[in-house]
Each structure stands twice: as C-alpha cells, then as structure tokens.
Amino acid sequence: MSVLKRLAGGAFLTVFLIFSLAPFLWMIAASLKPGDEQLIFGNPWWAASPDWSNYTKLLVSPLFLRWALNTASVLLGTLALSLGASLLAAYALAHRRVPRARLLVVSLFATYLLPSGLLWLPMIKVVQALGVADSPLALVVTYPGLIIPFATWVLWNFFRDLPPDLVEQARLEGAGELRILIQVLVPVALPVLAAVALFGIAITFNDYLYGLAFLSAPDAQTLISEVAHTSVDLNDTGFTFAAILLGVAPIAVFCAFFADTYAKGLGTGVID
C-alpha cells in the first residue's frame, strides 16, 4: 500500500512537473531559432540545430541594454524604497509610542489585497502629476504602494516578537534610533527581509497592467513590459524570448529556490 502510494505520488509529481516546465522548454526552443521560425515551421519544442544568433545580437543591441538597465532600476528601486519605508514604519510601530498602532498596521495591511485593476486608471494622473510618465520611474513610484502594506505587516509582527531587551539595551547604551534599526534589528531580520524582498519581486514580475498603462515609448520599457507591450504579436519571437531568458529568467530561477522563505513570510500571522 505504502509503495503504491509513493509510486502514485511520484507519477503525479512527474506529470505536474512536465506541465510546469513545458512553456519554458518552448521558450528555450524559440530563443534558439532565428526570427519567427518558431511560429511557422519545425518542432516548436526543440531546436534541432540551435542558432545562437539571438543571444549574440542581444549583447550588442542598444535596445536590449536599455531594457535590461530599466528592469534593474525598477527592481532595485522598488525593493530599496519598499524595504526602507517598511523597516522604518514597522520599527516605529513596534518599538515607539504610536497611538492606535495596531489599528494602523491592520488598516495598512488591509490595502494589500486591493486589486490593482481598481487603481491603474486614476494612477495614470498621479504618474503624470509626478512628472514620471513614460519613464521606468513610473513603476518605481507605484510598485512600493503594492508592497509596503504587506511588508510593514510582516516586519511589525517580527519586531514585536523580539525580546524587548534587545532594543532597550541599545537605547540605554545611547544608540540612536536609526543605528538600532540598522545595526541591531536588520541583522536579525535578514530571513524576514528576504521573504519581503521575494514578495516584492513577485509583485514586480507579475505586474502587466501598470507597465502597459504607464509606459509607451520603446525606450521606457523594461524587459518584462516590452514582451507583450502592445499585444501577443511579437516582432521577432526568437529575439524576444532570448532577451527574457538572458535578462530575467536567471533572477526568477534563483528566487524559485526560496519558495519556503516566501511561504513563511506570506503565512505571517496565519500559519504558526
């Protein structure tokens, strides 16, 4: 019985694994064929004679370099702003006197479930008012709004559960608040910060609507927004997927190894 059950489990895992990875196999095959060959003839799951020209073209393409730079700026800018703002807020809420701190945290937390479909239309005006329309900065100022509410919640829960002596002792020794945060709390919060960063990366990677609504010039795109910028009609399938596989996939694959960290953060306050 037990052997049978394990066999069934293994078979199920294998089938689902193939389902999960199939689109990536297709993308790799597409990236190893010139132009739109992938959509016209040959085996769409395999490149019998791999053509690496898409990848070599990428390395000298000014547009690819621009998109890669934009992607990196959006990702790093979003994470820096989100983590910085959440750390400060969570520390103040957990270790300083804030009237109705709990209510504030919960109200903040409540906004993290708001569908971005509700916000994008008026947000176009916000982005224009800030003077960042049609620039990757439009995403840097808007994504943190989707990350900070959840990040503050996770960090607040973590800070609150720390022994109070940790902060009190440092205060008695005359350390300033910022120093306590950076030198005492951040080092112990690293796993939690990793979980929050993963949450932020998932938000940034899975957004389509904001990129579509705020960016239109070719120069302003990120590698992610550029793929389906107008529609699914790709100009150059091979080049497009090579750009994604070279510029974005390594980050996604790296993050995929931290699924448990992600789940632990997401389950804060729900799963003990």
Binding site: R6, G10, F12, L17, F19, S20, L21, P23, F24, W26, M27, A30, Q38, L39, F41, W45, L81, L88, A89, Y91, L93, R96, V106, L108, A110, T111, L113, L114, P115, L118, L119, L121, P122, M123, V126, V141, T142, G145, P149, I201, A202, F205, N206, Y208, L209, V227, A228, S231, V232, T237, I244, V253, A256, A259, D260, L266, G267, G269, V270, I271
Partner: protein, 282 residues
C-alpha cells in the same frame, strides 16, 4: 521638548510608508470611486451623475456575461489549484533525491513574469503551428469557442497559481507536531481519519489564505485573459478586468470603466473580512 522631538521622529519614520499608501493607493482609490459617479471621458471632464453608471451597468448584458465569466474563471481555477496544490504538498512532504530541485521547478511559474508566460501559452494554444497541436498531431482550435477558451484560460491560471497553494499547504503541514501524527499512527487511526481529524485542522489556515489570495487575484485578473483571448471569442471569456480596460481605453468612458472596476469591491470586502479574522487570532 524631547517629547515633541520624539513624536516628530516617530512621524518621520512613518512618513515614507504613509506617503506611498496615501499617494498611490488611497488617492487613486478615492479618485476611482469619484470617477465612477461621474461622466468623465478621455480628454473631457465629466460631471456628477450619481449612480447612473452603476444603473446602466447592471442593465448591460455584456456586464452580466463578464461577471458570470469572472465567477466561472475564479471558481474553476481556485478549486483546481487548491486540490492540485494540496496533493503536491503531500507528495513533497517526504524527502527524496532531487526534492529541492523539483520544489523550485514547481514554484518557478509563480515567480516568472506573468505576461511572458501568457504569451508563451498563447502560442502553445495557437491553431497555427501551436505547441499543443503539434504534440497531439491534431488541429484543435483551443481558443476558438467559449467553453474551450475558458478551459484554456483556467489551465494557464492553474499553471501559474498552483504553487501558491503548494507552498502554503507545505508550510502548514510542517506546523503539524510530529508527535501528534505519531500518536495517531500508533493509536491505529486510518489515513482518512488522520487526514480529517489531525492534518486538516492544521492545513485549513494555509488553504484559506491561499484561497483568498487566489480568489482576489483571479477575480481581478487581467494579464492572462487580455493577452490570451482578449475576452473573445465573442465576449465568451470577457471578465470584469478586461471589460473595464476595454471600456476605458477603447470606448474612452472612464466613468463607466471605474464603475465596472468598483463593482467588484464587495468581493474584496468579504475577502478582507475573512483575512482579518484569520490574522485576528494574533
């Protein structure tokens, strides 16, 4: 003096987070609500029309279709993801060679850019040299008729989102104390008794959280439907998110589009109430 300085410092520490939430969440939300009560168009200021947009909407056949499609899409995807995700969590619970690699591979679709996944799936479903038809050597129009197109969209949603249920179920399973399970086995509890009486109570919070995130995410989905079917054929997969987008950018009717987006707020509020109850235990 120091008390005032202390309070100012507290405020300064809260300020960046509050600025983001007020500026890019609260303000747009309030504006969207206001839009939905006006006749604002692209390139034209509107005036207050009360609930006229909502009244018009509720009498609109295409809106009724979109709501029905949204419910089918959300319910179908969420039930499948919950079942498959829970089964995967059980299959992954024991150590085996390569487990880390398999776990990462299963999580990858969730963290990979959704629009890239959507484009790839569009070409897998395509009936012109599409990946799936090539495999089965048939000529099926996967996106050609309503029910099949909806099933295709559910497939993509399941591909992308099952990992959420897997990782949260697995985290919940890990919270089951080993000795409780061992005691049940020595007491001769059957597998379904162990599942119902011992595992399920521990699993429920994780599953409910995943279900809430999945329902709200799928209800507000845009990327998969917009890119893969565009709501077609003949509006048969049009959902609330894609309808709002089309009314806003193609018809230019921002008031009506905002009303469409805002009409799902009850779903959000119910989800939120559940979530707050879930975390209220702390």
């Amino acid at each position: 003096m120091t008390a005032v300085r202390g309070r100012l410092l507290t405020l300064a520490m809260l300020a960046p987070a509050l600025a983001f939430v007020l500026g890019v969440i609260a303000y747009p939300l309030a504006t969207a609500l206001w839009f939905s009560l006006t006749s604002v168009q692209i390139g034209g200021a509107g005036h207050f029309v009360g609930l006229a947009n909502y009244r018009f909407l509720f009498g609109l056949g295409t809106y009724g279709d979109a709501v029905r499609n949204t419910v089918v899409y959300t319910a179908g995807s969420t039930v499948l993801k919950a079942l498959l995700g829970m089964l995967l969590a059980f299959a992954l619970a024991r150590p085996f060679p390569g487990r880390r690699l398999v776990y990462a591979a299963l999580f990858l679709p969730f963290i990979f850019p959704a629009d890239v996944g959507a484009v790839a799936w569009y070409y897998l479903f395509s009936n012109v040299h599409g990946g799936i038809n090539y495999l089965i050597q048939r000529d099926v129009a996967w996106l050609g008729n309503g029910p099949l197109a909806m099933a295709s969209l559910v497939t993509v949603n399941v591909w992308h989102g099952t990992a959420l249920f897997t990782v949260l179920s697995l985290a919940a399973l890990r919270s089951v104390p080993r000795h409780v399970l061992d005691a049940a086995i020595t007491d001769g509890a059957r597998w379904y008794q162990r599942f119902l009486r011992i595992l399920l109570p521990y699993l429920v919070p994780g599953l409910v959280l995943a279900a809430l995130l999945s329902v709200l995410g799928t209800f507000g989905d845009f990327v998969f439907v917009h890119l893969i079917t565009g709501g077609g054929p003949a509006n048969s997969t049009s959902i609330v998110g894609t309808m709002a987008f089309q009314v806003a950018l193609i018809d230019g009717d921002l008031g009506l589009a905002s009303a469409i987006s805002f009409s799902v707020i009850p779903v959000y509020l119910v989800g939120l109430a559940y979530l707050l109850r879930l975390v209220g235990r702390r």
